[in-house]
Symmetry: C2
Subunit: 344 residues, 2 copies
């Protein structure tokens, strides 16, 4: 029986009140009588009135929405971050509009324009792989829209950041291998130009250093994108070095998995002959055989943190937005792939 578009004007006419009174009543403004307020709300309910958010937004210059730019939604890590973002945004009364750059710089740029036009109140982003120059994000600073990056962050533009301590995580992963008795530890590394992967290499080296182990360069295998296939290639190369490594720290789970498979095919026992630790804690890591020791990257929590930080900045807008960098602690999840000599 109800119909498409009913406005506060309609309510006003029905009740012989002014539209301003209706508006205030709906928003529980104290200057409107209790009785009137009740009546207005009652009629609104009966008529199935829902406020036109567009009009309200325009008037208040608010959208109650934040924009998110990710490389791809369907990547395990990002989908979990987004989930965390949506969860806390919803709680705090914001909704999230989502875009994927699909690792295209052009599209990433286009999306920043759209977000500006859309008047989102804040932006959360993770840079795409193509993006080396991220100055297109500067527009948000110019129009004072809070901006927080996660994971792959920008160094060209002032912004808040939520990251994990890749150095620390790699350090602990490597040290765990050492504690479990490994003395000749290899590393399958990510792209040499990417900060987070550089940090992981450093953490790996630092752990070796601390325990007086030599950081032999030919034990480090670099990949371009840490793919499953690259992992296998690296693992095969590692099989040719002498002495054979007795432990491998991989910069992600994909390469760890394929390395393990290569090692198994070469009749090496995991973890007795070679212990392996991965990075990210993909679902598969707790299911494969052997189960994989890995670093949990706290994706969901990262999303929550980013959203909380962003919204705080949105609502503190009067005071200057001070950029903030939050480092999330990671967990080392110890499983069978390193379970050989419980020492630490």
């Amino acid at each position: 029986m109800t119909n498409s578009r009913i406005t506060i004007k309609d309510l006003a006419e029905r009740l012989n009140l002014s539209i301003s009174t209706i508006s205030r009543a709906l928003n529980d403004h104290p200057s409107i009588g209790k009785k009137t307020t009740k009546e207005v709300k009652k009629l609104a309910r009966e008529l199935g009135f829902t406020p036109n958010t567009m009009a309200s937004n325009l008037r208040r210059n608010k959208t109650q929405s934040i924009g998110v730019i990710v490389p791809r939604i369907d990547i395990h890590f990002h989908s979990h971050v987004i989930s965390g973002i949506e969860e806390t945004a919803y709680r705090l009364g914001y909704n999230v509009t989502i875009f994927q750059s699909r690792d295209s710089l052009e599209r990433e740029i286009a999306v920043t324009e759209i977000l500006q036009a859309k008047r989102v109140e804040g932006v959360i982003a993770c840079l795409g792989l193509e993006t080396t120059d991220s100055r297109h994000f500067a527009r948000f600073n110019e129009i004072k829209i809070p901006l927080v990056f996660y994971d792959r962050v920008s160094k060209d533009v002032e912004s808040s950041k939520v990251i994990i301590d890749d150095f620390d995580a790699a350090f602990r992963a490597t040290e765990h291998l050492i504690n479990t008795g490994c003395r000749n530890i290899a590393h399958i590394a990510g792209n040499r130009n990417t900060d987070i992967f550089k940090a992981r290499v450093k953490g790996y080296k630092a752990a070796l250093l601390k325990h007086d182990l030599e950081a032999n360069e030919n034990l480090i295998q670099y990949t371009s994108e840490l793919s499953y296939e690259e992992g296998a290639t690296c693992a095969k190369k590692l099989l040719t070095v002498t002495p054979l490594p007795d432990g491998v720290f991989c910069a992600n789970d994909n390469t760890a998995i394929s390395a393990i498979q290569v090692f198994k095919k070469a009749n090496l026992r995991i973890p007795e002959d070679i212990a392996v630790v991965g990075f990210s804690n993909y679902p598969i890591s707790s299911i494969m055989e052997p189960t994989l020791t890995t670093i949990d990257d706290r994706a969901f929590e990262m999303g929550q943190t980013a959203a909380k930080l962003l919204i705080r900045q949105i609502e503190d807008k009067d005071q200057n937005i001070a950029s903030e960098t939050i480092v999330i602690k990671t967990d080392l999840i110890v499983r069978d792939s390193t379970n050989r000599n419980p020492k630490g």
Copy 2:
């Protein structure tokens, strides 16, 4: 040098033109002179003008945005569907605002209200597990907002749907087992109350029937949510039936994986002693050992299809929206877990 808010009014003053001319120029309206149009656009660019979408939306009564409700974003299937939705929505000039119900009915209802207030132009949804009565979606019909469900669809409210043919997929999976030589085929099934899982059971039985194999009820193991753990339990039970099954069709990959692990521990060879096929084509299925034969659920394509369908309905709004159901064809991906007797 540029600053926060510059409007077409500002442009008008600078150029001694009326705001209507500016508006039309920016939108390439033919009644504005070529030269003027150029000038307007030039100044707009220089001043870093971006149109206020809120105002435009209000005036045109358009939001160019669609709402998406999913149980959880971080589930592999849904993240891929969302990716497909975003991809085609972006292409067609819409953006997507996303909500997760987290399988809570209460929250699902709340979100439908928000979406109505937000004036999204269409809604794509997948019902949460708690949702048995989905009449809260009827509001979209009342206000003539196109609605399309995917996967878990509503039968309480008129709407378009995009689904996969679960019956057919299950039929083909089972028939594949038969073709590969299995004669005593078990099924690990999903929740008995869920349509899509009921359809899979039917497909399984139909395939047996077609090949004159008996559909023995104790070869069907029902689970409540197809979890990894439940899969193991079911597999162990299957080990106790005589004669031992020589093939298992599982209603998802999780249970297939844990079943395989149980079988391996029982010193059964996959696929020689028992062949296994899963459902969904999770990433792990191509990595595990043996690699898993499974049904690809076409999640990304499902998202694309849903978005295309929805947007078509949005833009066809004048004619009555005829509800439409699209069935997406699935693929059977044959891998090692059934590679034993290539016959068909």
